[in-house]
């Protein structure tokens, strides 16, 4: 039970990362794809939405990694060996994305107009490209973990069954799926945080991205069935299926909300959708961390360590949750900022 609780904690942190940092990566995707007469305004809205929160959102990934190597050190070692190349590429993406975002923000503007200067535009390109490749790579890593092609022997040696697991069709499809989900979450959030024409722009983008999410899920499902039968049977099992069913309903509600301009509802449903999806995946993976050789129990750290992780969590969260609440209230809350003016406008 101890082991499951720590694994559950890591899953919750992963969900928080996917929803919050996923939206930031999605912001970068829409920055790269910004076009039309409001191109600069779109980019500005994205930067404004990300600016105060992206670093806090990013820390969830550090939490996932720390929980993984603290709670399941041998699994962390095996993943680090198996995914040596994609993890390095993920780091490249993470470093370039974060650095380019602040470098752009603090680059001088061009002398003659309010348009960003040349340096800022270049960093903007780096920011956009890094925001696109990083979620794809993270999705590919997730796909590889579930593929069943990473084999780990008792002494910790790692070998692959068949070609590189992170380049398998399943992993590539999960990568594309992750990209679409990030784009969708970001567009839904941005539609909530903007108004007028910009809101229409992001709502339209959300509808496109949502279509992409649906299309890619249709592609991923048969791949799962044939390429990762164990995961498929886990997903349709009585444990995971109800969670996934809630996720599907949430996805439908979020799409409907978008269509009907019920943007707040769409936002809530989108968060539920991503959370249920990942929770369903985590439950389906159980009891494996890396199918079929590494189980949660086999890789777990000593009980004393796990107990420390669990007991320290409430204290840490007692600090974190009010701080996060304050952060989001100040910059995203209804009482302040854009949403406020929006309410006034509609009144």
């Amino acid at each position: 039970m101890l082991v499951e609780l720590v694994a559950g904690l890591a899953l919750v942190a992963l969900i928080a990362y996917a929803v919050l940092a996923g939206a930031d990566f999605g912001g970068g995707i829409w920055d790269a794809l910004a076009r039309g007469p409001r191109r600069d305004a779109q980019r500005e809205a994205i930067a404004k939405a990300m600016g105060p929160v992206w670093e806090a959102n990013h820390v969830w990934l550090i939490f996932v990694i720390v929980l993984l190597f603290t709670g399941f050190p041998s699994a962390f070692a095996a993943l680090s060996i198996a995914l040596f190349t994609p993890f390095h590429l993920v780091l490249l993406g993470i470093i370039l994305r974060g650095a380019a975002f602040v470098f752009r923000a603090y680059s001088p503007q061009s002398a003659r107009s309010v348009r960003p200067g040349r340096g800022a535009r270049r960093w903007g390109v780096v920011f956009g490209v890094a925001s696109v490749i990083t979620p794809v790579l993270l999705g590919m890593c997730l796909g590889a973990v579930s593929s069943g092609h990473v084999r780990v022997s008792g002494d910790g040696a790692v070998r692959f069954e068949g070609p590189l697991p992170w380049l398998s069709p399943l992993a590539l499809a999960v990568g594309a799926f992750a990209l679409a989900v990030c784009a969708y979450v970001a567009a839904v959030f941005l539609a909530n945080e903007t108004e007028g024409d910009l809101r229409a722009d992001f709502r339209r983008r959300a509808l496109w991205a949502g279509t992409g999410v649906v299309a890619l899920s249709v592609l991923v499902l048969p791949l799962l069935r044939f390429d990762a039968a164990h995961l498929w049977s886990g997903l349709v099992s009585a444990r995971a299926a109800p969670v996934l069913a809630v996720g599907v309903v949430a996805a439908l509600v979020s799409g409907w909300g978008l269509w009907k301009h019920r943007l707040r509802l769409a936002r809530t449903a989108t968060v539920a959708q991503v959370a249920c999806l990942l929770a369903g995946w985590g439950i389906a993976q159980h009891p494996y961390l890396i199918y079929p050789d590494v189980t949660l129990h086999g890789a777990a750290a000593p009980d004393a360590t796990l107990r420390f992780v669990l007991w320290s969590t409430p204290f840490g969260m007692a600090l974190l949750v009010p701080s996060l609440w304050f952060l989001f209230r100040v910059f995203k809350g209804p009482a302040l900022g854009l949403a406020d003016r929006d309410d006034d406008g509609s009144a």
């Binding site: 930067a47 720390v66 603290t70 962390f76 040596f84 390095h88 603090y106 001088p108 750290a301 992780v309």
Partner: protein, 449 residues
């Protein structure tokens, strides 16, 4: 082609050295920034507010780079040293977990601080800054516990190559933790303070002797001097601890080849490992015995007490140690010069300002050199006395390629960031420095939103 172990050590070194600069700034800059804002609120003088805003921008740039390069390190622990992490992840994880919370708090309140100038009351804004400065310092102190445990591992039993009966608080029980945390925290303030002071010294040398520049210089040097004066005391604690727990490291950093009582302190010089001698060195009789054990006649273990294969690289450890101490002493002198001149109510003269400019990178040089002493001095062990570095390294081929890639990446980012910080540094805000207004370009408004 270099072998995997060398490449992995080099990649870890490049990544740590790069991250360390921003980690130090992430600890030091927020303190400067809240000091300035506190003075602004207290005195109502506008130039303090301008300083706080400027330092907040520098913090924003450096913190982001520190955050992402720190993320890289947490992955690289596994990517480069999977067997080390499989062995010790469950032990040192507690240090990283608690550091994670502190770092999270720092990131949250930094967001509030940087973007909250207009949204928060002055008092709440200042309070957010205080939280950033405090949690940044705490996260550094906590994460150093992991390294302290690697230097001085405690809290587990070794059975068949696995750690059992693990005490999850082991990193914090390592006797090395306290003095390492103290020494590294002070070094962050020293490095940041002198580096920031250099910026204002340059400005004053160019004739901008306004309140903004003078206060910038004074505040930065106040922080730097106080911490620089405390540093030898913490260094003494460290040396005595290393002498007791890692005698081979002490012998290597002091280039002390032969065990003897009343051992001399060897200052400078080039150690020759083959002959066991040090050329061109100054010897201070019996000082090493005193510094290591508090007794001029105490016996100090030399490298000859250890099998040759357990020696760290003596040349690197000794030279890095000399560089660290030399820079530290020079900086103490520089701080003393500045405050002496100020005490005599003299405007800082040109030679003093030039010295501050020349001395501004020395804090970072000392910080890097100090970490080289710590890490090179621990070799050939990754966990001192328990696991060899070569036994922790990854079996994956291709580390030379990632080493090359990351070196290039960090070089490019370092150059770009230095350029941006230079643009940020030139040109005081017009309100406090009318003479500087002409040099001001668009960067002030670049982040007005």
């Amino acid at each position: 082609m270099i072998d995997t172990l060398t490449a992995a050590r080099a990649q870890m070194e490049v990544s740590l050295a790069f991250h360390m600069i921003f980690a130090a700034l992430g600890i030091g800059m927020p303190l400067l920034m809240v000091l300035a804002e506190g003075l602004a609120i207290r005195t109502g003088r506008e130039h303090y507010r301008e300083l706080a805003r400027k330092w907040a921008k520098a913090t924003a740039l450096t913190f982001a780079v520190g955050a992402v390069s720190g993320t890289a390190l947490s992955f690289e622990l596994g990517l480069l040293w999977p067997r080390f992490m499989a062995f010790s992840g469950g032990i040192i994880g507690s240090a990283f977990a608690l550091e994670g919370y502190a770092f999270f708090i720092e990131a949250i309140f930094l967001g509030l601080y940087l973007y909250g100038w207009e949204r928060l009351s002055p008092r709440a804004h200042l309070l957010c800054g205080v939280v950033v400065a405090f949690s940044g310092m705490v996260s550094g102190v906590l994460v150093v516990a992991a390294n302290a445990w690697m230097q001085n591992p405690v809290g587990f039993e070794l059975v068949g190559g696995r750690a059992v009966n693990v005490d999850p608080l082991a990193p914090f029980r390592s006797p090395a933790w306290f003095h390492m945390a103290l020494h590294s925290t002070l070094s962050c303030y020293i490095a940041t303070g002198f580096a920031a002071a250099g910026v204002y010294a340059v400005g004053m040398l160019r004739g901008r002797r306004d309140a903004y520049h003078r206060s910038g210089l004074t505040l930065a040097l106040a922080l730097a001097t106080v911490t620089a004066l405390l540093q030898p005391l913490s260094g003494d604690l460290s040396a005595k601890h290393v002498a007791e727990h890692q005698p081979a490291k002490l012998a290597a950093m002091e280039a002390h080849f032969h065990t003897e009582a009343g051992a001399p302190l060897i200052v400078g010089g080039l150690p020759d490992v083959e002959t066991g001698t040090v050329r061109y060195a100054v010897r201070l009789p019996r000082m090493l015995s005193f510094l290591a054990h508090g007794d001029f006649d105490a016996e100090v273990q030399g490298l000859n007490d250890f099998p040759r294969e357990l020696w760290p690289n003596v040349l690197i450890a000794h030279l890095a140690f000399q560089v660290m101490v030399g820079c530290g002493m020079a900086l103490i002198g520089l701080g003393a010069w500045f405050w002496l001149a100020r005490w005599r109510r003299r405007e800082p003269g040109r030679w003093l300002l030039r010295a501050v400019v020349v001395g501004s990178p020395l804090g970072f040089v000392a910080l890097q050199a100090g970490w080289i002493v710590t890490e090179v001095g621990r070799q050939p062990w990754v966990v001192y006395g328990v696991m060899r570095t070569r036994d922790g390294v990854t079996p994956v081929e291709g580390v030379p390629a990632t080493l090359f890639g990351f070196s290039v990446l960090y070089l490019v980012l370092g150059v770009a960031l230095a350029w941006l910080l230079r643009r940020l540094a030139t040109g005081a805000p017009p309100s406090s420095s009318p003479t500087a207004a002409t040099t001001q370009t668009g960067e002030e408004v670049a982040h007005a939103r």
